[in-house]
Subunit: 217 residues, 2 copies
């Protein structure tokens, strides 16, 4: 049984932000903080913070507040950031390449061990110390190295077939940048989506609302 | 007054997904669809679809369903995708460069008109037909071209000062990739966040839950 069954995904999705703020506090040398102060900093209510953290047992002490280092470490544990889960990248185009270079995987509990592409001009290139392999070797690689997750930076058209191959090869968890709703076709896949196109349209909506209130800005 | 005041952001955030699915249907030559069929396709309930679309006046006809082309166009209008809002990019590192090259801004109602960086080895380079300018020219550029929004692909440490400069220069809308919660310091900024680090930690949590149910996988 998963360890935190019953905790809603909306609570989970707030944990990385707590982790980030607590990390900043640690860097500034802050050792303890009350839920009221933390709430002010993060623009939440103290009761929401207490509620969120109570889902995992609660870490505060009445009259003392939270020990910043302990809470930071504990949230890191809940998020599983110490497990060094292996992950591979599918698609070494502009976006995939940037994700590989830009992200600090190790700081987020992951370890990038392979990069695949089917474009012959890209295969063989070095990215972050890894040689881009031809996608035809995907199954062999998965059999040997058993990666736990895959990053999908591939076109929508290629996504279904690629996910099918990955699932058959034992990879069930996906960081999905392709504009393909893979959880519709693969019900038992574990998916975290980053739909940049959707996000950009949401931005466009907000710009449009901002500039359509009649005022010259 | 904004046109859709009172419509919750969670409804807004679902619109791009409707737009995407309707676009796919259009490409496949589907001309009409019932809310039940659309619900099945998108794994929503028919009543949620009707509720969402009713926020904007509703587009279905009893016994006919939705006209796919009309609904697609109407959602595009609501999202403001026909306005060609001008946007600039701050930070032409790995991620900024990939965003500039990878995203189809025009299809999402935006027009990329400038790229800025303060790294002298990057300034002067060509990205998607634009010459990367030195950030010192930011104010001049904003005065002349009045961009409506900015993409922040800059380090967290540089974010506060950059946003301050942009806000003073009249840019109030942000697509924020920096791990900096800018809406805390700039209450009247319009912000769409893409916190890739938070997303990666959420993925890590889900991998951890998946693999910690005791079963060998």
């Amino acid at each position: 049984m998963p360890k935190h069954e019953g905790v809603s995904l909306s609570v989970i999705k707030r944990l990385p932000r707590y982790y980030r703020f607590l990390g900043d506090l640690l860097e500034k040398g802050v050792t303890r903080i009350s839920s009221r102060e933390l709430a002010q900093l993060m623009r939440l209510t103290a009761s929401q913070i207490r509620q969120d953290l109570n889902c995992f047992g609660g870490f505060g002490q009445q009259g003392y507040g939270y020990n910043v280092a302990a809470l930071h470490k504990e949230i890191g544990n809940i998020l599983g950031l110490n497990n060094n889960y292996t992950i591979i990248l599918l698609g070494a185009g502009n976006l995939g390449r940037a994700i590989a270079k830009h992200m600090d995987f190790e700081a987020r509990g992951l370890h990038l061990i392979g990069i695949f592409d089917n474009n012959p001009t890209v295969v063989g290139q070095q990215i972050k110390g890894l040689t881009v392999a031809n996608s035809t070797y995907l199954e062999d690689f998965c059999r040997e190295r058993k990666p736990k997750a895959a990053i999908l930076c591939i076109p929508k058209e290629a996504a279904h077939e690629t996910v099918e191959r990955l699932m058959s090869a034992g990879v069930k968890c996906f960081w999905n940048f392709s504009h393909y709703d893979l959880s519709l076709a693969f019900e038992d896949a574990v998916v975290e989506n980053v739909h940049l196109g959707d996000s950009l349209m949401t931005l466009c909506y907000q710009i449009n609302e901002y500039y359509s209130d009649g005022e010259e800005k």
